[in-house]
């Protein structure tokens, strides 16, 4: 008999990929877009965003990183739910876990979809 | 009164190497098996064994074979071994090592992937399969993990108070749960004792708190015979400081790597203790000893230093130095490797020792002297068993491992103990399963006996008690250390027997505070009966062996006696009194006798 397929490795794979992408690239983007440009030290190279390579890069970076964040937000939130419903047994916890998971991973999926939509328009 | 009752075909008492191996075997033969152990599963004393397991695998040296292993073991045992046991043992040893390996045990390997073997005292060839200095732990883990899918039931933290008897037959065991203090009756067709040693009879021991001679005492009370109880091995180099680690082993390897013994003034004293028997074989001056290098074959001008004399000689020398007021501050001698080898060499060759002293004594052995002294380590004697099945003289009662006697004779070789557990653990398990299979009905339980055991076990809670069990135990240990220790004499042994009578009287008057749940004081009180019983067996046997041989040294009889070489001491319960006799040992058959005259490289330790 086959067990139902677990999606845990998929989420974790996206988390790990996103973690690495975010670790390597997010700080510089924050520094540039969030600080250097608004403070007037540099200008946003707007025309670059039209290049398909840049679009692919940004869509990949943003959606992967969002999955990373979703995974990291999920666990504490899940355990926080555990604390709120402290007396609940383990199986009930899994039931709480599900909506929390749908919320955060769903959020990441919406984010990733919009990133791809924006880039492909 | 009704007690919780648990039934199995075979009950195994003890979950060390021998007990688990017996359980695996009995279970494999279709018996329902229950293992009862005092501490947690996987924490047994086997875990502390370091060196390795001896077997003539012939990996390291193709010249090795079971006959050579047989020869070394009998010579090491000073001829007193039961040769049938030794034969089975040496012939089956390689299979037991390979079997353990097949079950997943990790062994150090040769470059071509075979099991690596190391040299050890008394073994002519490199014969010890090992993994670093944690061989026992790996063995125990492997057996535990392998046993997991065998359907064995384990009853942890459950101490057996006495064996249940049906007429003259073993019928199970009466025990208490340590956590709740409530009693439990194990009913079984066969019982295997695998309880290990009795080091806790002595103040200074390498053994842990579990080693209180339970199995020997249970067997004795059930009517079984104990053999060779006078032979207790004292390891010359145990730690003496700090108190928490007093007695813990400092491996022989330290001296093998060049370590030397010194008195409180830094003088090397072993030159004064070379026995006549070894005269001419060891260096006689410090200059000569300095020319000797570990690992380099010795020439006529560089004989090995006397620090490498056999265990009994070194142990006695340290004791004599301490008695003469030349000991170290905490009553031992100095062991110095710091001045004999470089820091890098020590860390490479003795990593375990370096860390042991660093972690437990915060002493850097590459810079400072260690303080060492003799520590009681192993009992060669034990329950007398049949070599084939490990059955005792009590039907349905089996014994294997350190609790059983006969294999090691007067002195055990390093590395033979772990193999002993595997070879005879397996045989005991098979013997018990077979015996149980042949029995149609579960033996009965005698309610009077149960009531008696229970009353005795609960006596320490009675108001009338006056003695503190811990103090009685300390006095017992002091007595054994002094009167029945490394070096013995008639007067002291006789005196010791007298003191034992007093201690026995005190032991029935102990009083403990609190209740039965996890009460260490109560556990002491119950262990006390076993400790006193085995102490009596040791002392009585020692009193009547008027010679020095192996682990038994008599000041008043420093030589070995050819007459006493022919006999084993047997102790049994006769109408409530401990009786001893010398029974004639079965002589070796001609072909095996011949093996002993093979040329040899060095006198076994």
């Amino acid at each position: 008999m086959k067990k139902p397929i677990s999606f845990a490795p998929l989420w974790w794979g996206l988390f790990a990929g996103g973690g690495m992408a975010a670790a390597m690239l997010v700080p510089i983007h924050i520094a540039l877009t969030g600080l250097a440009v608004p403070l007037g030290w540099l200008e946003e190279p707007l025309w670059l965003y039209q290049h398909w390579l840049v679009k692919v890069y940004l869509a990949g970076l943003i959606s992967l990183s969002l999955f990373h964040c979703a995974h990291r937000i999920y666990h504490p939130l899940f355990h926080f739910a555990h604390r709120v419903y402290f007396s609940l047994p383990s199986f009930a916890l899994r039931l709480i876990g599900r909506p929390v998971a749908i919320l955060v991973y769903g959020g990441a999926m919406v984010g990733a979809a919009s990133a791809i939509w924006i880039m492909t328009r | 009164m009704n007690h919780e009752t648990i039934e199995h075909d075979v009950i195994i008492i003890g979950a060390g190497g021998a007990g688990l191996r017996a359980a695996i075997e009995a279970s494999g033969k279709g018996a329902s098996v229950g293992v009862v152990c005092k501490s947690l599963l996987g924490k047994a004393h086997t875990a502390m064994a370091e060196g390795g397991m001896a077997a003539a695998l012939t990996t390291a040296d193709p010249r090795d074979n079971w006959e050579m292993h047989f020869r070394d073991t009998i010579r090491g045992g000073k001829m007193l071994n039961n040769w049938r046991m030794v034969k089975i043992f040496t012939q089956e040893a390689p299979d037991r090592v390979n079997e353990l390996e097949e079950w997943g045990a990790l062994f150090d390997r040769t470059d071509d992937g075979r099991i690596l073997q190391r040299n050890f005292g008394g073994h002519q060839y490199a014969r010890l399969a090992h993994v670093g200095d944690r061989t026992g732990l790996e063995m125990l883990r492997t057996l535990q993990n392998h046993g997991i899918h065998q359907g064995i039931e384990v009853y942890m933290e459950c101490t057996v108070v006495d064996l249940l008897m049906d007429g003259g037959k073993a019928a199970g065991a009466f025990a208490y749960w340590r956590d709740s203090g409530t009693f439990v009756q194990f009913r079984a067709k066969a019982v295997v004792l695998a309880t290990g040693g009795l080091g806790k009879c002595y103040t200074i021991t390498s053994n842990s708190w579990e080693c209180t001679g339970d199995g020997q005492a249970l067997a004795y009370r059930a009517g079984a015979e104990l053999i060779d109880m006078e032979f207790v091995q004292f390891h010359p180099t145990g730690m003496v400081w700090p108190p928490s680690v007093r007695g813990l082993l400092v491996t022989e390897g330290v001296r093998g790597e060049g370590g030397v013994l010194r008195d409180k003034d830094g003088k090397r004293f072993m030159f004064d203790y070379i026995p006549e028997m070894f005269a001419g074989e060891y260096a006689e001056t410090e200059e000569e000893a300095k020319r000797w290098r570990p690992g380099v074959p010795e020439g006529p001008d560089a004989r090995r230093p006397p620090d490498l004399l056999t265990r009994d000689v070194v142990a006695r020398a340290i004791r004599a130095e301490v008695r003469a007021g030349r000991g170290s501050p905490h009553g031992g001698a100095y062991l110095d490797i710091a001045s004999q080898a470089s820091e890098a060499q020590i860390k490479k060759k003795l990593p375990g020792m370096y860390h042991q002293f660093m972690q437990l004594a915060s002493l850097d052995i590459t810079k400072e002297y260690m303080e060492v002294g003799p520590t009681s380590h192993y009992v060669m004697g034990g329950v007398r068993v049949d070599p084939e099945t490990c059955s005792t003289s009590v039907p349905g009662l089996f014994a294997a491992g350190e609790v059983a006697g006969g294999l090691h004779g007067a002195n055990r070789l390093g590395g033979n103990s772990l193999t002993d557990l595997m070879v005879f653990g397996r045989r005991a398990g098979a013997g018990a399963a077979e015996y149980a299979g042949a029995l149609s009905a579960m033996p009965g339980v005698n309610p009077d006996q149960v009531r008696d055991i229970e009353r005795l076990a609960l006596a320490p809670f009675e108001e009338s008690g006056t003695e503190n069990p811990y103090e009685v135990m300390q006095d017992l240990q002091k007595m054994m250390e002094h009167d029945s220790g490394i070096v013995r004499a008639k007067e002291e042994l006789a005196d010791g027997l007298g003191k034992l009578r007093t201690l026995k009287e005190r032991s029935v008057k102990v009083r403990v505070e609190g209740n039965r749940q996890y009460n260490p004081g109560w556990h002491y009180a119950l262990d006390l009966h076993n400790l006193i019983m085995v102490s009596e067996a040791i002392t009585l046997s020692a009193l009547h062996r008027d010679e020095s041989r192996g682990g038994h040294t008599r000041e008043d009889f420093p030589e070995s006696s050819p007459e006493l070489e022919k006999v084993n001491t047997v102790v049994r319960n006769r109408d409530g009194e401990m009786a001893w006799e010398h029974v004639t040992r079965e002589p070796l058959p001609g072909d095996l006798q011949e093996l002993l005259s093979h040329p040899h490289l060095e006198e076994p330790n």
Binding site: L32, A36, E43, L48, H68, P76 | E153
Partner: protein, 139 residues
């Protein structure tokens, strides 16, 4: 079907069952650092959404971008991005440290020490950051 070892278990009802306090991550400095590490993802996520919002406007044309660009010059946003940057750097460093636990490459028989794995990651990180910076400075 495998048989299994059965171990006796003490009476559950007589035991004391401890509970993790809700604020368990304040109990130990290492737990607190762990929580801080997890918290970085909130800041990163907010930044990503904001950035996506900006990119959306950029792709709508320069005018659309200039319409919204001004508000990010406010003190609030600058402060947010400052904090987010600190968190992002913390994320990077902690991530490289954990990567060194997972990636233990061997070259021949020699195991590359963890500090070197961390160092290689940091080097790659600096190189990637420099490359992105180039796009802003040179082009």
């Amino acid at each position: 079907m495998e048989k299994e070892m059965i171990v006796n278990r003490p009476d559950n009802s007589k035991m004391y069952h401890p509970h993790m306090p809700t604020a368990w991550w304040f109990r130990k400095w290492s737990y607190f650092l762990f929580m801080l590490r997890e918290l970085t993802s909130v800041f990163i996520a907010v930044f990503l959404v904001v950035y996506l919002f900006q990119i959306y406007h950029i792709t709508q044309g320069a005018d659309a971008y200039w319409e919204i660009a001004g508000q990010f010059r406010s003190g609030g946003w600058i402060a947010f991005h400052g904090v987010a940057l600190i968190f992002a750097i913390y994320h990077s460093l902690s991530w490289f440290k954990t990567a060194a636990v997972i990636l233990t490459p061997r070259v021949g028989g020699w195991m590359v020490p963890p500090w070197m794995v961390v160092a290689l990651h940091i080097a790659a990180w600096l190189a990637a950051s420099a490359a992105v910076l180039m796009l802003y400075v040179l082009i």
